[in-house]
Amino acid sequence: MSSRADNRTLTYGEAVFEATRSEMARDSRVFVMGQGVDDARGMFGTTLGLHKEFGPERSFDVPLAEDAMTGVGIGAALMGMRPIQVHQRMDFVLLCMNQIVNMASKMSYMFAGAHKVPLVIRAIIGRSWGQGAQHSQAFHSYFMHIPGLRVVAPTTPHDAKGCLIQAIRDDNPVIMIEHRMLHNVKGVVPPESYEIPYGKARVLSPGKDITIVGISHMALECVRAKHLLEDAGIDAEVIDPVSLSPLDISTIAASVERTGRLLVVDTGWLSCGASSEILSETFERIGERRHFVAKRLGYLPTPCPTTKILENLYYPSPQSIAQATYRLVRGENATAWQPGKVDSAEVAEFRGPF
């Protein structure tokens, strides 16, 4: 491999497209279905033109019937096909819950291995520019609750490609969580095929003072917070779980064992959420032998407001993450510290409409 190939950068959306296209070329059982996958926008470019390259049977539009279309995907998977279903907004995946929870996740177990469901569901979380209460929700914790279902939430373009390839090749149902704010973020993506294994967290940036776990888009915000914290002399370790179910608690717990501090920043609400799971599993793993302090950040416990001025309050930001980290490291009585300014360009520049 040339050094140019080593450093090739793609956006997250391009990485998702490349994974899909290469798997469709490799395996004729792979097909894509979803509302708008074959339209001029091509699901933010992630499915653009696949119907022309592979034929309309292998990348097709569907009726607005999320329940039955999920069931159709499951039925095709039962017969040996490998469908990829795409939802431009995760909010609509609520309409698929019966099929995902009662069928896809249970068939292997209920029928003692007689059936398998190699189905991939891509669910995109929205944010910014007025997405409002019903185009911005993150339900990854709902799926983490269900045995028989794998949940991945890659943050980097590299991991997006590898997670999707792994999901397509898996004989089990997989929900891949994509954050809309990540689609235009660039990163190094190797041209060849590779799989990102389940249950392996990625240390995005090592540090010694505190362990910050950031989920999906929040991992990116946590890295920004880490840079702000350098001003205050705090060296944070940022971990991206990548795979939410199964969860790599070993990597997180080992980090907390060193730092004695844990901040979990979720792309979602806190109550019964991924952050609760990460914190409680970490405590179960090391709590008897290692005292540590912990805090969670996530969406405010409200529906998402549409107007920008309120929406800004709703999401954790690099500043609020840095501030919370500072208090956790220095203690509640420490001298006040004001983090610097940093732009989250992907949020600030987003003009949607979706």
Binding site: I74, G75, N102, A112
Partner: protein, 318 residues
């Protein structure tokens, strides 16, 4: 015997007799509490499964519901493994993980049945999509009760099957009742055939107590589907003699007139089909099926329960 059993009536009688006797044995065994699972009996409804499945080949794919004993048996599902499954034994068709409501036999393409009403219908449509993509000659048959047609999933599935002209036969077993709720309290408009036709799917209604006509019409519908003419819909009027769930009768609940049930039992489809056969042929079929049932029960009794560690098996495939 072989030659005579090739008549449709003989094949139907064999299938229906097996279903009736398996379920009567379930009723007999139930008080022993060896079957620790809810059972939804098909007694009274055997003709639909038997008549439709008589036209199917092994490669044809069948989807059904929690009231699935008849379908499993009519498709040629393994009888001893069904019985062992009801007993929760390790030799059951799903090693005791399924019970009565989720029977499965992949060797005859009897897909696992679902207990959430209407939930398997879209899976059947997806299987038909796969068969079409794979250019298979096989077809899908999807059984459900009239209660399932209340669900949006049925409408979404009918639309998509028609849109893609998929190789699927929808068989609605209309037994009038969703548990104890009558269809007239749930269904608006001109009925299910009209709804099916509105989706562009040719539909036909077959009255109860006409098992040979049902057999003939099912054959015609299946032939059309196999020719690539797209989906077909059969509304098969039928009647459940027993309670919605459990082995008993349900006259105590007074949701249907005793006379209505009595008339249905009087007009037993099993007797109608049996009367078409010479007595010696009938007796010969009965003797053979009695032995199969007895052997299946003995198999279930002799099998063991799964080991503790099996609780973790098969959460994921592979």
């Amino acid at each position: 015997m072989e030659e005579r059993s090739n008549s449709p009536a003989a094949r139907l009688y064999r299938s229906m007799y097996l279903i009736r006797r398996v379920e009567e044995e379930i009723i007999r065994l139930y008080p022993t509490d060896k079957i620790k699972s809810p059972v939804h009996l098909s007694i009274g409804q055997e003709a639909v499964s038997a008549a439709v499945c008589d036209h199917l080949e092994k490669d044809d794919v069948l989807f059904g519901t929690y009231r699935g004993h008849a379908l499993y048996l009519a498709k040629g599902g393994d009888v001893p493994r069904m019985m062992a499954e009801l007993y929760g034994k390790v030799d059951g068709c799903a090693r005791g993980k399924a019970g009565s409501m989720h029977l499965v036999d992949p060797s005859v393409n009897m897909m696992g049945t679902s207990a959430v009403v209407a939930t398997g219908i879209s899976n059947a449509v997806g299987a038909a999509l796969a068969l079409k993509m794979q250019k298979s000659r096989a077809i899908v048959v999807c059984f459900f009760g009239e209660g399932a047609t209340d669900e949006g999933a049925w409408h979404e599935s009918m639309n998509f099957a028609s849109l893609k002209k998929l190789p699927i036969l929808f068989v609605c077993e209309n037994n009038f009742f969703a548990i104890y709720s009558h269809v007239k309290d749930r269904l608006a408009g001109p009925g299910l055939q009209a709804r099916s036709k509105a989706y562009g799917i040719p539909a036909e209604l077959i009255e109860d107590h006409e098992p040979m006509k049902l057999h003939e019409r099912a054959g015609a519908a299946i032939a059309a589907v196999r020719r690539g003419e797209g989906p077909r819909f059969l509304e098969c009027m039928t009647y459940r003699w027993r309670d919605h769930v459990g082995p008993g009768e349900d006259r105590i609940h007074k949701y249907r007139p005793d006379e209505e049930l009595n008339a249905k039992i009087e007009g037993d489809n099993l007797k109608i089909v049996g009367d078409l056969l010479p007595a010696d042929q009938r007796k010969s079929i009965e003797a053979a099926e009695e032995k199969r049932v007895a052997d299946a029960i003995a198999f279930a009794e002799a099998s063991t329960f799964p080991a503790d560690q099996e609780v973790y098996d098969h959460v994921f495939a592979g």
